[in-house]
Amino acid sequence: MNAIPRLVLNELRLFLREPLAVLFAIAFAPVLITILGIAYPGRIEGFGGLRIVDLYLPIAIGMVLSLMALNSMPSVLAGYREHGVLRRLATTPVPPVALLAAQLAMSLLVAIVTTALLLAVGRLGFGVALPRNLAGFALALVLGAAALLGIGLVIAALAPSVRAAQGIGTVLFFPLLFFAGMWSPRPTMPDVVRHISDFTPLGAAVQALQDGSAGAWPQPLHVAVMAGYVLVFGLIAARAFRWQ
């Protein structure tokens, strides 16, 4: 049975038919990086010779992960429940959990492709070096995505409607992005804020991506934080998810 690949393909096709979602999830971050790269070409004092575009590349990746995991996926799944798509699937030999898996895989796929796009824009447009520790970078990306998707699944599990899912996703999006360094990158954060950031999923992910880019391995603390989110939120989602 080739149902799972078919489901992933279908989810991707449906996702690409939502122009606004595509614009936000795929186009927004590369455009942001392009603007930052053009607007602030110089190196910043005291950041080891980093430029704004170097600092913001992992943050932009974090933003893409959040858009897919907190905004797009939960409302799609809540809609599938609200409209009985999951129930309909329950009458076929393919269980509804397969659709959940397909939606997760599709979100991860889009996040990875957009990350590659961001790296390409950084490299070709502004000479940002590709991740020097590719394995470390990939680990950070996948763990970070998994942590956020775990949170997204809990939103999908608890939200009674599509509107509620969208609302919760948006409410979480901004604080998470704040701790990721969207408005003040981690090196510029006051110590207290940075310590809090270490324990947020996106803060840990952005730092781990930064470490991978610089050629290091993600720090154990950040790996543990991300793995912790995956585990805790994965379990909550598995227990709380309602299929109808």
Partner: protein, 305 residues
Amino acid sequence: MPSTVIEVRNLSKRYGDRVAVQDVSFSVERGEIFGIVGPNGAGKTTTVECVEGLRAPDGGSISVLGLDPRSDGPALRRRVGAQLQESALPERMRVWEALDLYASFYREPADWRQLVRDLGLSDRRDARFGRLSGGEKQRLSIALALVGNPEIAVLDELTTGLDPHARRDTWHLIGQVRERGVTVVLVTHFMDEAERLCDRVAVIDRGRVVAIDSPAGLVSRVRSEQRVRFRPLAPMDDALLTALPQVTAVSRSGAQVVVTGTGDLLQAVASVLARNQIVAAELRVEQASLDDAFVAMTGREEERS
């Protein structure tokens, strides 16, 4: 010998304090169209959801094609197609994509291109689900229920919300489904639908089976009486009619004469009128319908939604 494909015995199911289904038993034979009728909230949907394995019964036993819906779920779902009360596909999915996807769920799927033709969806193949009319959604829903080449199709509230034309088209489709050799379980709260389509009907009311019989059988249990109504174009003495052995009563409502009786009532009335050269306008025969039978059995009017 007809073989039994669905056997439900003493099924019961409650939601909290509310009893949804109590002591429901029936069996469905291969190749028939079996109706489950009853007012809204009578427990029809709960019953078929237990049959499909979507809900766990609190008591009783269910066997579908020799399988237990709860423990043999995947094996069962390969052989039973279902159409649920609320249609359910993502708005942006196209008709052919849905059929192609659902076909991939089964080992030996039907040719969905043929289904598209059979169900009259050929010119809507590329339409998005959200753009389909109510009737088209229902037809797609039937196609999805059949795409796995099922032995049994369970169709729940198939024509609710359809206009009369679309309802008739859908009825025609159900007949075609049976001709494919598929056993059909049809859930409905429309008595005319059950009367028209079903070989046998189980009437469920307040969670219990009130009767199981053919539609004609159910009707004959209730009333053998008929009513003939007409407007005589010349003055007429009621005694002409009351003298007939078939007539039990004659009454007038305005200009109309209403004759109730049994047996060959129409024949008898018509020949009396002809003999006396009385022309009858607006002549009508009213027979008990499944609607009447239902009201009599459940002791209340059918709720119409």
